[in-house]
Amino acid sequence: MKTNTSRFASRTALLFAFVVAATVARPAIPVGDSNVQIGGFFSQGWLYSDNNNYPTADKGGTWDFREMAFNASTTFGSHLRVGGQVFAQRLGDLGEDHVILDWAVADYNFNPAFGIRAGRVKYPKGLYGEALDLDIVRPFVFLPGAVYSPILRDFSASFDGGMFYGSINVGKGSFDYKVFAGRIPMTPSQGVSEFYNNAGLYAAPGATALGMDSVAGGQLTWNTPVNGLKFVYSYSQFKNLHTDGPFVAYPPVDVASNIELFTWHTISVEYTLNSWVFAAEWQRSHGDFGYNALPLLPPTIGPVGWDGWYVSAARRLNDKYQVGAYYGNLQTDVNFSGSNPADYQHDIAVCLRYDYNEHIVFKIEGHYIDGTYQTFDTVRIPNPPAARKNDTTVIAVKTTFSF
């Protein structure tokens, strides 16, 4: 009871802080005459699915769907900038409104072609990987799950390490590059653990330890001479992605797993034409999953990974309204069978965004999802096989206040 009370109090205090900050603040501008900038957002939504719990425990509807962030940054001299953002989310039973450090960087920009950023840095993957929760910059409630799994938000957002970046003009276009290395902090409470907990190796509630040795990669963006058209290639790799937890068949014994090298390739294109934004991305992830529970289970290894792609279109109708739609396809790349719904996920989504003013937006979005790939059955996202259907409809309603 005490815990619940203090948790409620901390959430209330956090919400109050956001409201106060939002009331006194204006969008990402200096505070007084200083060069300190503050910003943030608070969103609250309602999530409903009819047949399966997807992307989280939302069957029949849930209000446990919110995000909040507060950031501040400032500059020193001509080239140095420092800043950070705290973030909290609730997505069903994921996140639990715990405040985490989302990003915190020191950035030294020598010139347009070369800069260094270090600290907790946003993880660049695809067109929108660094802006996963920025409702304000897109019409969709959920980015296409085929490339941006919603339950990986707290894992895919940032890494601890460093990045080189820059931009080089070539003809009438330019190339932007980012090269990075570091480590993504992992805990069993993150959504990423559901990928392991769904594998059927661990006794409930699931893996008790997760970690990785390193993440490294890069991103190259070609801003073409055609106005609004850009191509992006992103690559990243995790080394020794490992987990530990009680073996489901005999909990006193632990199961240890390791993926020596897990790779992500993402190819993206975005074209902005007047009030239209078109985007398409393809992503392949792959690794070899090894596990053992000695002496009960000998070392075993097998491939793991998936392919995902989507196409999307969005159009701003006027200052108030924007509409969007996408089709996404996600499927296992291990023994894929087109006739087995557990091997694929086809997602058709349509959305409507309404801008009440520059700070407040409302969104409503509908999904029809055919197939159950990455529809998990875990303690936090229960989908027992007997109750699981081959398709599901998801409705998301969300309002976001940003400043």
Partner: protein, 142 residues
């Protein structure tokens, strides 16, 4: 009689529209300490997209923009191939993800001009009629 009124109304609307278009002639202005800076179209784009954060000899780049309106749309379309809404989204994304310091935005041109005049390294845009001797009117090389 009614048709005549309608015609006059249409002509007046057309003239007002034409005047509004003609008024949206943006001028690039900067603090007077930018007078020695070399500025071409590519550099200007780099500055307004947050890729160039420091001048060669005038300290840190400080961006000042109008929040919206025809002057903002006309300038930003020409300088960075975005309208004001797209530009705002671009910067919201950068500022919220640790990628840059957002421009200072203004509702009124006179406030923007005063800020640019008083802030070393500041660069912005106003309607050409609103530029005065307190700021340097900059002309990027093609």
């Amino acid at each position: 009689m009614k048709i005549t009124h309608l015609r006059r109304l249409c002509v007046a609307a057309f003239v007002l529209l034409a005047l509004a278009q003609a008024a949206a002639a943006p001028a690039l202005i900067g603090n007077k300490n930018l007078a020695g800076e070399k500025l071409d179209a590519a550099t200007l784009k780099s500055v307004f997209l947050g890729k160039k954060v420091a001048w060669d000899g005038a300290g840190r780049v400080v961006l000042a923009v109008l929040k919206n309106g025809p002057v903002a749309d006309a300038f930003l379309q020409g300088a960075v191939d975005m309208n004001a809404s797209g530009f705002n989204n671009y910067w919201r994304r950068l500022a919220m993800t640790g990628g840059g310091t957002a421009p200072k935005s203004f509702e009124k041109e006179e406030d923007l001009r005063r800020f640019v005049a008083e802030t070393p390294g500041a660069i912005g845009f106003v309607d050409s009629a609103a530029a005065d001797a307190s700021v340097a009117v900059l002309t990027p090389a093609p």
